[in-house]
């Protein structure tokens, strides 16, 4: 084979690898299932190697695509549309997921990675059950790999007219945010497929008990953790990159990632109840199905052209139909299964009105209502148009108006949950526990806006009260445990950090929304403008050359006006107006002086006459707390995942004969008990 033929053939190998991965996923969907129904352990054992094979070949495929980007193989249409030889190498790699086809391959890669992880780390789970789980994940993989190969092949060639240069990556995406945000987001998004597979396997096998919940929980928390980080990163990236200082726009694509997060949060709490108390089983299964369904819905919304968004990929209704079919099969199928197979066994664990179960049930319902509300708002314009009532828009004013009250309800109950007993709260004990947190947080909330902002502000008061309430309750829980000398499990530390993270985020959101300020001014050389106790001085423009752009760089000095009225130098900010050479697209880079308690944010506008420039300055107090809170939440998730009880080896004896006997016994006894209870109810 001549050396010139190899690079030309490499993309074809990438394509082939993907086809082989499809073959593996088909086998994975079918063979273990046959093993389960025929009680053939040998066939069930194939699940693990098939999952590995599926992962390896998908990995090969995406690595070849990445390699093609790095070596500037413009014979591949996708590379030619999203790359350029002057693009820095790290952006060449992240350009793999800069467009529809490549990001879909990333989606598939995430799925196969999770599948392999489940196959590898499931030694303490019943073989039959895990075979089912892996088979379901295989089915999802079949759908998406087929979708990629048939409608969105990243390896399509421009042959023989290979362009000399690529179109370059969209300048907006030439940022470190693109390198980490999509992979993290997809790991989270797609990770809910694991919870989904566990739920479907539970429905199939009829095994919807505490053991199932214990197996399912760490995987679900893992996916939730990645999604938390992915969303937070997206918000942070939008903040510093887009130039308008906003951090959440309720854009349909943003909502598409937020809804699974809300349901995922409800799910991890519901799993906790099912694991500990054996109740909420049907509810938990349903939430698992919904979480992944919302992930799929998000995938549909972004790629079908049904909604308008700055984030959406090139839209194509025929692709939309394909995803809709996948959605119909996955969601419709699982919900049909649910309708027929949901547990009829009455849960014997009753709980009182005042109990942790009730608190968690309320929280779950509020989270579901929140997710449904966002879904309603996102799809409403589509609904109105489909019914022929014209075009309307639903945007941030609506979402903020409905979301804040709903979440406030949630935060109130979040304060009760950690301190209330399971099954039945002790009379008077709960009241005693809640007195100090409530008094402290209300007092703090009422005073804060007066001290910080100079006048009373109801929204700020409410926000700060709720934040401190949520925080103090988990601190009190820690203190209680300390006093009674119990060693806290990692799971409990996880809960503490995660709830503390929520409190931190509430503080950030409340304060930045109420106390931010913005000013747009024309500034001549050496002119200054004042904003919220800071002085901004314009010191001209410098010309800068980048690897694939040229820029006008503003030089702005930031001073803090201290108590004596004098200026203390804080920072030199260098916002830029860049002109990217290939796409001849312009872009602004904001100059930010970030701090724990405030950001000063400067952006260049247009040059005006006389050497003056239009300059925008933002003052953003506590904005970083929003993402800091998310980091705490993710840390909480990691701690919860590492809890010892998920690492205990299987206690079931390894003799297959006695395992089969136990299984039969268990089946029979549950059948008879079913009969008994149905006669009773």
């Amino acid at each position: 084979m001549s050396p010139q033929l190899v690079p030309q053939l490499l993309p074809e190998l990438g394509h082939l690898a993907l086809v082989i991965a499809l073959a593996f996923s088909l086998c994975l969907s079918i063979i273990p299932m046959i093993g389960v129904h025929g009680s053939q352990p040998k066939l069930m054992n194939y699940a693990k190697p098939l999952a590995s094979g599926m992962f390896v070949f998908t990995a090969i495929s995406i690595c070849i695509l990445a390699y093609s980007f790095v070596v500037d193989d413009f014979s591949i249409k996708y590379v030619a549309s999203h790359s350029n030889s002057h693009l820095p190498y790290y952006f060449k790699i992240s350009a793999v997921w800069g467009g529809h086809e490549g990001s879909l391959l990333l989606w598939v890669f995430s799925l196969t990675a999770w599948t392999m992880a489940v196959a590898q780390f499931s030694k303490n789970i019943e073989q039959e059950f895990i075979a089912r789980v892996l088979a379901v994940m295989g089915m999802i993989a079949v759908g998406f790999i087929a979708f990629t190969l048939l409608t969105s092949n990243p390896f399509e060639r421009l042959w023989p007219n290979v362009p000399m240069e690529g179109r370059d990556l969209n300048p907006l995406l030439q940022d470190v945010g693109l390198i980490i945000h999509p992979p993290l987001l997809y790991l989270g998004y797609v990770g809910f497929a694991v919870a989904f597979a566990f739920a479907v396997a539970a429905l199939m096998s009829g095994k919807m008990d505490a053991a199932w919940a214990r197996w399912s929980r760490p995987w679900t928390v893992g996916a939730w953790m990645f999604l938390t980080l992915g969303i937070a990163l997206g918000s942070w990236w939008a903040y510093y990159e887009l130039g308008w200082g906003g951090w959440w726009f309720w854009d349909p694509v943003e909502n598409a990632s937020f809804m699974p997060w809300l349901i995922g949060t409800a799910l991890i709490h519901s799993l906790a109840v099912t694991e500990k108390r054996g109740t909420f089983r049907n509810w938990t299964v349903l939430l698992a199905i919904f979480a992944f369904s919302l992930s799929l819905l998000g995938t549909f919304l972004v790629r079908s052209g049904v909604i308008t968004s700055v984030h959406s990929f090139a839209s194509d209704p025929s692709r939309g139909v394909f995803i809709l079919v996948i959605l119909a099969i996955a969601v419709g199928g699982s919900l049909t299964l649910y309708a027929f197979r949901a547990s009829n066994v009455a849960s014997f664990s009753r709980f009182a009105l005042y109990s942790r179960e009730t608190a968690l049930l309320l929280c779950n319902i509020i989270l579901v209502v929140a997710a449904t509300t966002i879904l309603l708002g996102t799809l409403y314009p589509l609904l109105v148009d489909a019914l022929g009532y014209g075009k309307i828009s639903v945007g941030p004013p609506y979402f903020n108006a409905v979301f804040v009250p709903i979440m406030s309800l949630l935060f109130i109950i979040m304060g009760i949950g950690p301190l209330i007993r399971w099954k039945k709260a002790k009379k008077g004990e709960l009241r005693k526990q809640l007195v100090s947190p409530s008094v402290l947080s209300i007092a703090f909330g009422l005073l804060f806006p007066v001290i910080y902002g100079g006048e009373f502000n109801a929204l700020v008061a409410m926000g700060m009260t709720l934040a401190l309430w949520v925080f103090l309750v988990v601190i009190k829980d820690l203190l209680n445990q300390y006093k009674s000398r119990t060693i806290l499990s990692l799971s409990q530390w996880g809960m503490t950090f995660a709830h503390a993270g929520i409190a931190v985020t509430i503080v950030g959101v409340t304060l930045v929304s109420s106390y931010e300020s913005e000013t747009n001014v024309k500034m001549a050389l050496h002119e200054s403008v004042e904003i919220s106790g800071y002085q901004i001085e314009f010191n001209g423009i410098k010309h800068v050359e980048g690897p694939n752009y040229s820029a006008e760089q503003g030089q702005l000095n930031i001073y803090k006006i201290n108590r004596d009225g004098e200026n203390d130098f804080v920072a030199l900010l260098k916002p830029e107006r860049r002109a990217y050479r290939v796409q001849s697209m312009g872009m602004t880079e904001a100059g930010i002086d970030g701090g724990l308690f405030r950001d000063i944010y400067v952006a260049l506008g247009d040059p005006l006459d006389g050497g003056a420039w239009a300059i925008r300055v933002h003052y953003k107090p506590f904005v970083r707390w929003i993402w800091l809170g998310a980091l705490f939440m993710a840390l909480g998730g990691i701690l919860a995942m590492m809890d010892k009880r998920y690492r205990i080896n299987s206690r079931v004896s390894n003799s297959s004969k006695s395992r089969m006997k136990n299984k039969n016994t268990a089946q029979m006894t549950s059948q008879v008990t079913n009969q008994a209870t149905s006669e009773l109810s």
Binding site: G243, K391, I392, P396, V672
Partner: protein
């Protein structure tokens, strides 16, 4: 697998060309208008309204963030109207009369949007009802859970038949003491 794609690459270039011609040069450059307002209140109103109004031609952006020419024109118009002393509702009506309800990010409450605006409250109410229903369900009496004598006998028989077909030990399982995972596990 290898396609001849002269036509598609040509079409690609044309599409790119046309789309860049329609988008302004500075795609994400957040526009900086240097309007001077009568007073601080007007400035704040301007900032608020420019976030409530949608750019008619953009990919889901409000007037404040969009760099397209139409958004710049509408911002200027907004500024003029506010400087003339028009009320918020008059400004909103001005925009809606020309560009339709589409330009409002806060949809008006009308028969079309009742579900939108009142839906969330209804859902919460529904949720509370669900909780009440669940809490009020008749508690299953533990005493009734034990199998009746006939059922216990039937179970013993089933198990004996099962164990007779195997050579392993055949201790009849006593249901009442067995933990079938249906009992709640008291942890914490």
């Amino acid at each position: 697998m290898i396609k001849i794609n002269l036509l598609s690459s040509l079409l690609l270039m044309i599409t790119i060309g046309i789309s860049t011609l329609f988008s302004s040069n500075f795609v994400n450059a957040s526009p900086v208008d240097t309007f001077e307002f009568n007073d601080e209140v007007t400035k704040v109103r301007f900032q608020a309204l420019s976030k409530e109004l949608r750019c008619p031609k953009c990919q889901n952006q409000n007037l404040a963030d969009s760099n397209s020419p139409i958004a710049a024109d509408l911002r200027h118009e907004l500024y003029e109207l506010l400087q003339q002393g028009k009320a918020d509702s008059e400004v909103v009506n001005f925009m809606v009369n020309r560009y339709g309800e589409f330009v409002l990010y806060r949809p008006r409450v009308s028969s079309i949007t009742y579900i939108l605006w009142f839906g969330p409250a209804l859902l919460i109410l529904l949720g509370i009802i669900v909780v009440i229903v669940i809490l009020r369900k008749k508690p299953v009496d533990k005493a009734n859970l034990a199998l009746k004598p006939e059922q216990q006998k039937k179970l013993q028989q089933l198990l004996q038949n099962e164990s007779e077909s195997e050579s392993a030990d055949s201790n009849p399982v006593d249901l009442n003491s067995a933990n079938l995972n249906l009992e709640s596990v008291e942890k914490e």
